[in-house]
């Protein structure tokens, strides 16, 4: 089959590799009909996530048709059309039982690596996202092996198009969870969203769906701000205005009741790993690219929530902890418990409350994907979201 393969830092390519096979009786094989490039894939391209190996298949946002099931798969049948959460969860451990699928104890075969970093057993494995997160082959390919097939894949039984449901695999639930965990009081609370990338866009629209009185989106890329404006959000271009002043003014001096950091550490602060950890200690260097998080804390109203869907991996320095304490802020963060949102959010799509296709700017084939990785990273050509058809 064809697949997008990590070939080294700054290098992804299309390769013909063997089709995936069932490895365990609880696996299924999915023929992928649509897949997407995620902002977090850029971290892999940049080489800031440790433990990628040449030949790894990329991709964690995908959907398709079940073509093969292992003997112990009960719920899925060949022919089912499914969306697949980007995180892999076992469904039986204490965390999964509590709906904390991203904290699954059992899905990561390489639990040892994460354990060393985080002082706890590893969280859930992820598709196509380095060996530290399980080393599972990803879904920017024509087929993918899906473990725990009765737990993750969600059947789509209506005639919604792929593009309308594809983002249930990651960015829609991720934006939604970020908004939901703010505890927005409908008709009253003001929500600010740092970062107008795909997750920021869904966070802003989710805040609106959850009844936010007003939503403000902060970025510097004009077409991304325009996308947020199209949904009725106020926007602030931080390159043109002092963002903290603008936010105070927009909220009558209170600050937003809740602030969402949909930026994360991005390239610089992102890379965790012992190597960086050690380098930081040895050289006295500090990770200092947490501008969005710092702004989020400084702008947030007293008693508010700082919600962080943006990915952080390593150490953070000069975090304004005094401001967070002084204002009595609540911090919410972490990988998305995708599994628990797919059903409810699918209902919202079916009800016409949101059409997730708004975020798509580019449609392409697998062969065109390596070029689009670059376009997406450079934010050229108005690129916000790339959807790939593996069979085109």
């Amino acid at each position: 089959m064809k697949a997008i393969v990590w070939q080294g830092v700054n290098q992804v390519g299309v390769e013909r590799i063997p089709d995936p096979e069932l490895l365990l009786p609880t696996d299924a094989i999915i023929k992928i009909t649509s897949t997407a490039i995620c902002g977090s894939d850029l971290h892999l391209l940049d080489g800031v996530i440790p433990s990628m190996e040449k030949g790894d298949v990329m991709g964690h946002e995908f959907m398709g048709e079940v073509v093969e099931v292992g003997r112990d798969v009960k719920r899925l049948k060949v022919g089912d059309r499914v969306v697949v959460p980007f995180n892999i969860a076992c469904g039986v451990c204490d965390f999964c039982q509590r709906g904390l699928y991203a904290a699954c104890d059992n899905s990561n075969p390489n639990h040892r690596m994460a354990q060393a970093l985080y002082g706890a057993t590893s969280g859930s494995a992820l598709f196509g996202y380095s060996h530290m997160f399980g080393g599972y082959a990803g879904g920017q390919a024509q087929y993918v092996r899906v473990p725990f097939a009765d737990v993750g894949p969600y059947k789509i039984e209506t005639d919604l198009k792929d593009e309308q449901v594809l983002f249930l695999t990651d960015i829609f639930p991720t934006g939604y969870q970020a908004a939901e965990q703010c505890g927005i009081l409908p008709g009253r609370d003001v929500v600010a969203v740092f970062g107008a990338g795909p997750v920021g866009q869904f966070a802003a629209r989710s805040a609106q769906m959850l009844g936010a009185a007003h939503v403000i989106v902060i970025d510097r890329v004009p077409e991304r701000l325009a996308m947020a404006e199209a949904a009725g959000c106020q926007t602030i271009n931080y390159e043109q205005e002092d963002v903290l002043v603008a936010l105070l003014e927009s909220t009558g001096g209170r600050g937003p009741d809740h602030v969402i950091d949909a930026v994360g550490m991005e390239a610089h602060g992102h890379g965790p790993g012992h190597a960086l950890d050690m380098a930081e200690r040895v050289t006295g260097m500090t990770f200092d690219r947490i501008t969005a998080l710092r702004w989020a804390i400084m702008s947030c109203a007293k008693g508010g929530t700082v919600s962080v869907p943006g990915v952080y991996g390593g150490l953070v320095d000069k975090l304004p902890m005094g401001a967070a304490f002084g204002k009595g802020l609540q911090f919410r963060m972490g990988q998305t418990h995708t599994h628990r949102y797919i059903g409810p959010l699918l209902s919202r799509i079916e009800a016409g409350e949101i059409d997730p296709t708004f975020v798509i700017t580019h449609r392409a084939t697998l062969d065109e994907a390596p070029e689009l990785y670059k376009t997406f990273r450079q934010k050229h050509d108005g690129c916000v979201k790339v959807v790939l058809n593996p069979w085109a």
């Binding site: 063997p18 365990l24 059992n106 399980g134």
Partner: protein, 263 residues
Amino acid sequence: MNTKAVPPKKLPGTQLPGGERTALGVLGGTLMVSGLGQSGVSRLILLGLGGGLGYMAARGRNPLATALKVDQNAQGDVQVREATTIGKPVDVIYAQWRDLSGLPRIMSHLERVEVLDGRRSRWTAKAPAPMNEVSWEAEITADEPGRRLAWRSLPGSSIENSGEALFRAAPGDRGTEVIVRLTYRPPGGSFGAIAARILGEEPAQQLRDDLMRFKREQELGYNPTVNGQTSGRADAGQRKPAPAAQPEVRRDLGSETHRKGEQ
């Protein structure tokens, strides 16, 4: 049967056993003496190295072992401890451990355990070539059903070691907390323990991997794996011997699997 609880004593840092201290002191002194006879750079190096070893001997600490968190007691025994919570009842988990002959399924360094009588058993572990395996006789020193199981090698064993497993119900109906403590005397003293830690063949890591695998066997009935999956590498799709961290449980996948779609 001796049922007295003997929890391994936790000492801060790492203690060098007496024999090792003496050897280090002698080696350090020799290096310093021969350094005095040299000139230039080699004099500096030998004096420095010798002084360093002498300092280690005097302090009774191996700083490398401390940095690598190799935990040793005053007798030079390495102590390893690990805990996990398993979503199964205490009696089920305890029974798995009490069946000594089944212990090799849990602890990957063990080859087999033969039960000799109610108290004694013969344990065989994998060892590096040329030994390949080592055996010793052990006795159960405590058996409190559903709470604690302890064992130790009998005097005269080739590898002196002891261990215990504690079991207790996790709060909130979350299953069983298993705490395992192992004590052994590493071949090669603290330096052997350090070498093993660096080479990754270290019991602390092994125990962590073993307990995680045991937990998953209990909760899922198998361990997750990516061994044999597709990739852009030359070995794609080939089955590799499973490393301890991710043993492969490939049951018969059955014949009722289906496949369709283009290739």
